[in-house]
Amino acid sequence: MKKRFNTGASAAPAIDLLPLTPAVFYILLVLAEGDRHGYAIMQEASKRSNGSLHLGPGTLYAAIGRLLEDGLILELDERPAPELDDSRRRYYRLTDLGSRALAAEAQRLGELARQARATRAVRELKHA
C-alpha cells in the first residue's frame, strides 16, 4: 500500500514522546487494531473510553496533525475496501514508532497503576 510523503517524520525514540495525552493515546490504541478514518477513530475512541472522551473534529485533527509530524502515524493513499467505503475519507496507519510509543505509554501507565495500588490509601479504598 502506498503512503504519502511525510517530511516531518521524527527519528526520536519513543520514550522521548511520553507522556501521551489521553486523546493521542486513544487514537494510537484505535489505530493499533488496524487502519481507520477520522470518523471511525472518533467513534471507537468514544466507545473504548466508555463515552468519557469526546474527540471533536478540531481536537481529533489537531492530534492527527501532530502525530503525522512526529511520524507516529501515516496517511494512506489507498482505501482498504473501495466498494464499501467513501472515497472522500482519509485513512491513517500506525507506524513502528507509533507502536513503540503506545507500548511505552502503556508500560508507563501500568507502572503508575502498580505503584498506586501498592499505597495504603488505594488498598483501603479497594476494600471499602
Binding site: 472518533m42 471533536g56 473534529p57 481536537t59 485533527y61 496533525g65
Partner: protein
C-alpha cells in the same frame, strides 16, 4: 407516521464558517475532513431530542475553543520547528495584538454602554439606540481588524515556512546537507 430528517445543510454551513477561525495552513490540510466528520456525526444528534442537538453544539463549540488556541499557537509562536527571524517577531507581536484587540473590544463596549457621552461628546444628541448600534459596529470592526491582522500574520508565516520547506527538501534531495 414517518419523520423526515432534513439534510443538515444549515449546520454544515455554520460549521464551514466556524472553520475559517482556524489558521489557513491547518484549515487547508484538514478542513475538508473536519467538515466531513461534522456532517457524519451531526445526524445522530439531529435525530434525537432537541436537548441532544443542543448538547452536540455545546460539544462542538467546546472542541472549537480547545483546539483553536493550540493551532494558532502552533502557527504563530512555534512555526513548524524552523528557526526563522519571523518566529522572533511573531513571538513579539502575538501578545500586543491580543492585548490591543481586548482593549478595543472592552473599550468600545464600555464606552458605548456606560461612558459614551463623556468620551464622544458629539454623540450627545444621539438616541440610546443609535449609541448602542455605533458601539456594536465599532466593536465588530475591532474584532474584524484583530482577526485580519492575525490572518495576515498567519499567511506570511505559512508562505515563509512553505518556501523554506521546499528549500530544505530540495537541499536534502541534492545531497547538499548532512
Amino acid at each position: 407516521m414517518s419523520t423526515l430528517h432534513p439534510h443538515p445543510k444549515g449546520p454544515v454551513r455554520i460549521y464551514a464558517v466556524l472553520l475559517r477561525l482556524y489558521p489557513s495552513r491547518f484549515r487547508g490540510r484538514f478542513g475538508a475532513q473536519m467538515l466531513q466528520l461534522f456532517q457524519d456525526s451531526y445526524p445522530q444528534a439531529e435525530g434525537m431530542l432537541t436537548a441532544a442537538s443542543f448538547d452536540f453544539w455545546r460539544l462542538t463549540f467546546l472542541d472549537l475553543a480547545c483546539s483553536l488556541g493550540g493551532e494558532w499557537r502552533q502557527t504563530l509562536v512555534k512555526p513548524r520547528k524552523l528557526g526563522f527571524p519571523v518566529r522572533q517577531w511573531a513571538d513579539s507581536l502575538v501578545i500586543p495584538f491580543t492585548v490591543l484587540g481586548y482593549l478595543l473590544v472592552e473599550g468600545n463596549l464600555g464606552a458605548g454602554l456606560i461612558r459614551t457621552p463623556a468620551i464622544y461628546p458629539w454623540m450627545g444628541a444621539c438616541t440610546d439606540d443609535w449609541r448602542f448600534l455605533l458601539c456594536m459596529a465599532s466593536t465588530g470592526m475591532a474584532i474584524a481588524a484583530t482577526l485580519a491582522l492575525l490572518g495576515v500574520l498567519s499567511a506570511i508565516i505559512t508562505a515563509r515556512n512553505r518556501s523554506a520547506e521546499i528549500w530544505s527538501i530540495k537541499l536534502e534531495y541534492d545531497g547538499t546537507t548532512d
